[in-house]
């Protein structure tokens, strides 16, 4: 890819067609399109069971104008690895000519929880494939149940904000760090509000000589309780509050990007987490006085993780 202009990117083949059945305001198709703009080579896509899968492939229709496969929920990485393995085998025998890229899209439930084993295995084995987590921080496809990607205080249908409970009791798992620990060539966090950052990272991921992992924050109007035209603003807010820092880990080297780099450099002010919490219905109970300590704990944990990330960027490898 020589330039990253929207005009040029729009010339790429449309791999995910319009007319799919995702909810109004869903970020998943936006993220997927940005990711797929990261290569000019043919891409074979696999999906783990979830919103994106059920919304794009209701038989006899398909939204995929590129090779597509789905098998089950907890095995997206193995599904994608199977494509890549077949490609390697058939290319070696001259039965396939030309390069093909491979990517699996999965929700946070399929990534942080049920698919963690298959994902870890595929990363360790070094398949040349990209794994993208569309992280909307809960099991949205089954109706907003908490996952280990759900953050502290979020009200979900299995971690309610009730009279004696303030939503989810635990902070989210740091899945990006879990994958960094696999020592693969490329790991990154992205947000759909910054298409340039996302497409650039996707290009690097596709070009990596081995597995790559991209964790994308994917605002969900239904699950997070915000208006459907606020999706991109919500994604931006996640980055501006450092709830979702934009960074990449290239062969072990941590690099902050885009807004997160500017916050770290002091060029832009880090916004308080309360702006993020107060914008979403799932956190609205945290605005009550009695749950103030939870909101404070949220801020503390975001700060702790951000400061840790800043230290990691100082590592001289």
């Amino acid at each position: 890819m020589t330039s990253l202009s929207l005009k040029e990117l729009n010339k790429l083949p449309v791999r995910l067609a319009s007319g799919h059945r995702l909810c109004a305001g869903c970020a998943e198709s936006i993220i997927a399109k940005q990711i797929l703009m990261g290569t000019e080579d043919p891409v074979a896509v696999s999906l783990s069971t979830g919103c994106f899968e059920v919304s794009t492939t209701v038989f006899p229709y398909t939204s995929w104008n590129t090779p597509y496969i789905h098998t089950a929920f907890g095995n997206g990485a193995a599904t994608c690895a199977g494509l890549e393995t077949a490609y390697t085998a058939l290319k070696k025998k001259g039965k396939i000519k030309g390069d093909i890229k491979f990517v699996n899209f999965a929700g946070d439930g399929a990534t942080y929880d049920i698919g963690l084993q298959a994902l870890s295995g595929a990363m360790e084995r070094g398949h040349k494939m990209m794994y993208v987590c569309l992280n909307n921080e809960a099991y949205m496809n089954t109706g907003i149940q908490r996952s280990s990607a759900t953050t502290l205080g979020a009200s979900t249908t299995t971690s309610w904000a009730g009279s004696v409970q303030s939503g989810k009791k635990e902070f989210s798992k740091d899945m990006t760090e879990v994958i960094v620990a696999h020592n693969i060539p490329y790991v990154a966090q992205v947000s759909p509000h910054n298409w340039r950052d996302t497409v650039t990272k996707a290009s690097k991921g596709f070009a990596a000589d081995g597995p790559s992992f991209i964790n994308a924050i994917s605002p969900c109007p239904r699950g997070w309780r915000f208006p459907t035209d606020e999706t991109i603003n919500m994604a931006r807010l996640a980055v501006e509050t450092c709830v979702w820092p934009l960074y990449e880990v290239v062969n072990g080297k941590y690099i902050l990007t885009a807004e997160s780099a500017r916050i770290a450099d002091g060029k832009v002010e880090k916004k308080p987490v309360m702006e993020w919490l107060s914008a979403q219905g799932r956190f609205k109970h945290l605005l009550q006085d009695r749950w103030e300590p939870v909101a404070e704990a949220y801020q503390d944990e975001v700060d702790r993780r951000w400061n840790k990330l800043l230290k990691l960027t100082e590592l001289d490898l």
């Binding site: 696999s46 209701v58 496969i69 098998t71 199977g82 298959a118 295995g121 084995r125």
Partner: protein, 387 residues
């Protein structure tokens, strides 16, 4: 050129795989299957095959990776047993419904619990409703031959279903037997090139595999699998005939021994078919007219072939190495159903035996068959169990 070798069942399967040289193999170790993948890994390490060999982190991923690899257009093999098959269970009907003709060897072993590593058919029987073709092997030769036959049935364009090659854990997997191997060139010629339908990696013709079905399509898609299974019966017969032409070794949908003039027939699967043949010889020496039959192809269920064998018999004894607790052995109701079409229904008996590696002996089989002939046997017998 063919020649005889001494080899155990697992190594015989690995040998057949080496001769076929599949594009992809992914597997996870589990007793008593492990020798297959260990041996195959050795072939990979020594460049004796061109296969991409993937050591996955679980059986769930093994079957997943194999399913997508085969969908992509690569001939793909795997192997498992017992808990491994149980762990694959979620994927098994998916593999079948996606019409993926991959091949899986299953070294039959009891399902936990209690945990037990020995042979019975709990694994294969618990997976029988998943839409896979299931072949059973009487001996090491059968396991080897089935491994060569399986791709021809599974990959046939009228079939397109995954195929499981069953061989009894330890009894066949670890026991060394004399076996006649087929020349590698003949194996390659017999099995042929893999010609996948709608391969996913044909990027010029993008296809979607594994879409979501509503009620309007789920049921018709299942019915298409029913039709494919029906065709698999015909295809299996054709392939068996071709295999016999090449090797002289005859297999049938239902293999049989001394059934023509028998008054009583034992229906039995796997290595116990051999034990039952010896039992038949001894009983015939005593003047009791007995025969035995093994559904070589268990799925699709060879009902017509079996009914033909059971016609006119006084009694039929179904030996099951698994049981549906609270009911019968899994094969019993199916044999009864096959016999139900006959003008006169033979007396039907069910014998549960050999669970978790419990002894399956000629003397035990003989005793129950004598009781049947004397009209003394119960409808269901738990052979040899110490209560």
């Amino acid at each position: 050129m063919t020649h005889d070798i001494a080899i155990n069942g697992d190594n015989a399967v690995a040998l057949a795989w080496r001769q076929i040289d599949p594009d992809v193999c992914a597997a996870y170790p589990i007793t008593p299957q492990t020798i297959i993948v260990e041996k195959f890994a050795e072939y990979v390490a020594n460049g004796e095959v061109t296969t991409e060999f993937v050591c996955v982190e679980s059986e769930h991923s093994a079957l997943t990776l194999c399913t997508s690899s085969c969908s992509a257009g690569a001939r793909t093999f795997t192997a498992t047993a017992s808990q491994g098959l149980a762990y694959m269970w979620e994927m098994m009907p998916i593999t079948a419904s996606m019409r993926v003709p991959l091949i899986m060897a299953v070294a039959n072993r009891a399902i936990s619990g209690p945990i037990n590593i020995n042979n019975d058919h709990g694994d294969a029987m618990s997976a029988r409703d998943c839409g896979w073709i299931q072949l059973f092997s009487e001996n090491v030769q059968g396991a080897y031959d089935n491994s060569i036959i399986a791709p021809r049935i599974a990959e046939h364009h009228d079939v397109q279903l995954p195929c499981m090659v069953n061989l009894d854990g330890f009894i066949l997997t670890h026991a060394i037997e004399r076996m006649t191997m087929v020349d590698t060139a003949d194996v390659k010629h017999f099995v042929g090139e893999f010609e996948p339908l709608y391969p996913l990696l044909d990027v010029k013709h993008p296809v979607s595999h594994g879409n979501m079905d509503g009620p309007d399509f789920y049921y018709p898609h299942k019915y298409q699998s029913v039709l494919a299974m029906d065709r698999a019966l015909e295809v299996a017969e054709e392939v068996f005939k071709e295999f016999a032409d090449m090797t002289g070794r005859e297999y049938h949908l239902v293999d049989e021994y001394m059934c023509d003039d028998a008054e009583y027939v034992a229906v039995i699967l796997g290595s116990s078919f051999g034990t039952m043949k010896e039992t038949v010889d001894q009983l015939r020496a005593e003047g009791i007219k007995v025969g035995c039959a093994m559904p070589h192809v268990y799925r699709p269920w060879p009902e017509a072939a079996l009914a033909k064998i059971l016609k006119g018999k006084k009694g039929v004894v179904v030996f099951d190495k698994h049981l549906s607790i609270g009911a019968y052995g899994p094969m019993f109701p199916e044999v009864v159903t096959a016999a139900a079409e006959l003008e006169s229904l033979p007396r039907m008996y069910n014998v549960i035996y050999g669970l978790g590696g419990a002894d399956a002996t000629v003397s035990g089989f003989k005793k129950i068959m004598e009781e049947v002939a004397e009209g003394k046997a119960a409808k269901i017998t738990y052979l040899g169990v110490k209560a």
